[in-house]
Symmetry: C2
Subunit: 334 residues, 2 copies
């Protein structure tokens, strides 16, 4: 029963996960193997988030390696903690398999999960294993500590604040375009775009920097810039004015878009899954944020400003026309 | 779009959940609606557990009402906290629907979830909504506080400790037997057995009592007595001797078993999902536990004793024969 191709029972699956996650962690007082985990935090408060992904909706097993699925599901949940300015500390993993899994499937999934957690000294503290009627299902819960000055919510933006974003947008959507079978032959030419989709790096350190300089609001770009900026406006009770010309797009994405007649800006505005940080800050705080991020090697761009609510949500096109910002990002049921 | 029969988008689903879960909770500093929730605990440590259920595996939608599904998934996770002697404080809910859900489906699921949480003054702090390729999926994460004297693990039992269990066993399995279409017409005669399956009451108060008197090990009966007692032996490094005649079986279960030629003891030993507490304690502590539980109106039975590991895991039959305890409870992949 030790071969990679052997099928595991539920208890063998749990035993394998427990073995792979056995690295000790100072605050993990009761690890995997009991009814619940007992975890210790630096203070009496914690950030907590949960993210689920399902085969056939979030990924296809032909296209994704199991380790990519484990990696990405975990990265998405860790990114939620980064978006509050927090540090991820513990994770729990609920795994659903449609049939008894192969040993190598479980170990590969776990490798992806543990790669992300290892990058942030985050421990796998527990979870659940069960059967699904169809398809692989992963739910990742991440617990973290808020930044010393308090977590950064979506609701703190004020009219006049600069809108900033880390990195570049649209790369993950471009990677998905190539993985989905379109753009044949281009995958080898643009490995960074495929990587942006399969192996996004949660911006934990950037989130820590942004919280420490005192940005007013923050979220991660998971649904797409349009939708995620809409969330900041919703929760802060503001309008906004976004300049399309300022949206940061990578050279790779521009080159792919030219080759394939794609609209790079549209991928950047509504592609989602970039896991960059979108934030707002008073002008002087924005300057400090930009220079602190630059010191840490994280690019940052200013996209526009938050506006009073009665001015609406405006997108300035490169040709000077004004459109209304529409939340055209992904909605699972639309 | 306000009718019960209207289909919701993802953002409408989240808005409905947010509205239903809006009751304020003193420690819930950042509630549903941000990238992560921020929760405050009484101390710098927390218990955390996660449980997933899937349509077609854990329930069939023809047989279960949505509110039962929400109730039971939440009760199972709360029971894990009870099994450590802890108090549940916050929950997160990840919901997967195969298509845009009806408003009444979402509100009914949430009613079941919030009924359990309300019973324990536990707040719904966050979650995730997405689409599945097939079938309804629920993952419930519960965070809690450990008991003042420390959480009770599965690993603290010693040879000589009495094995105790709250309530009666096998009722949930009998309820499932009737719900699964067997035993037609009996459902109205044994409503308590159906209720035991659909609406189990997590033993939070009993767990608190058992932790306070200092039981040595504890778990909940979720996989079945045989398997769950096996877990206590595994983690404590002990053997055990269990008397079949001492396994507590309800009068309803005996009556149903007689009527349907079922083996009541077998349902009690391996049925699972009873969510009673199985614990071990030194003899004097067991006496104190039993009388404290009785004062709280919780029945309790002594099933046998933990033994040195070299004596094995023994079941004494009513006729005096000795068998080996087999973990014959539910394994998802067997």
């Amino acid at each position: 029963m030790d071969g990679d191709e052997s099928r595991l029972t539920e208890s063998e699956t749990i035993a394998l996960i427990r073995e792979m996650a056995a690295e000790p962690h100072p605050g993990l007082e009761i690890p995997i193997g009991d009814d619940a985990a007992l975890v210790r935090f630096a203070r009496d408060e914690a950030l907590v988030t949960v993210d689920s992904v399902f085969e056939g909706v979030h990924f296809a097993l032909g296209t994704y390696h199991q380790s990519d699925i484990g990696y990405k599901a975990t990265a998405a949940a860790v990114s939620d903690i980064a978006a509050m300015g927090g540090q991820p500390v513990y994770a729990l993993l609920s795994l659903g398999f449609p049939a008894a899994p192969l040993r190598r499937e479980v170990s590969s999934l776990l490798e992806g999960v543990l790669e992300v957690l290892g990058n942030f000294h985050c421990a796998l503290a527990g979870g659940d294993v069960c059967r699904t009627a169809a398809g692989l299902a992963l739910t990742v819960t991440v617990l973290g500590t808020p930044p010393p000055g308090g977590a950064i919510t979506r609701g703190g933006a004020a009219a006049g604040d600069v809108i900033g974003v880390t990195g570049t947008l649209g790369d993950a959507a471009a990677g998905l375009y190539m993985l989905s079978g379109s753009g044949g032959g281009l995958r080898a030419r643009f490995p960074r775009l495929v990587e942006a989709h399969l192996r996004p790096s949660p911006r934990v350190h950037a989130g820590e920097i942004l919280a420490s300089v005192g940005v007013s609001a923050m979220t991660d770009v998971s649904d797409g810039l349009s939708t995620d900026l809409g969330h900041l406006c919703d929760e802060s009770g503001t309008g906004c004015e976004l300049s399309e010309a300022s949206v940061p797009v990578s050279a790779d994405l521009r080159e792919l878009a030219d080759a394939e007649s794609l609209d790079a800006l549209s991928l950047a505005m509504s592609g989602g899954e970039d896991y960059e940080l979108l934030f707002t800050a008073a002008a002087d705080v924005y300057s400090e944020a930009a220079s602190s991020l630059a010191e840490a090697g994280v690019p940052c761009a200013s996209l526009g400003t938050m506006r009073p609510p009665d001015e609406g949500r405006i997108v300035l096109s490169a040709d000077g026309t004004r459109k209304t910002l529409e939340g055209v990002g992904y909605d699972h049921f639309r």
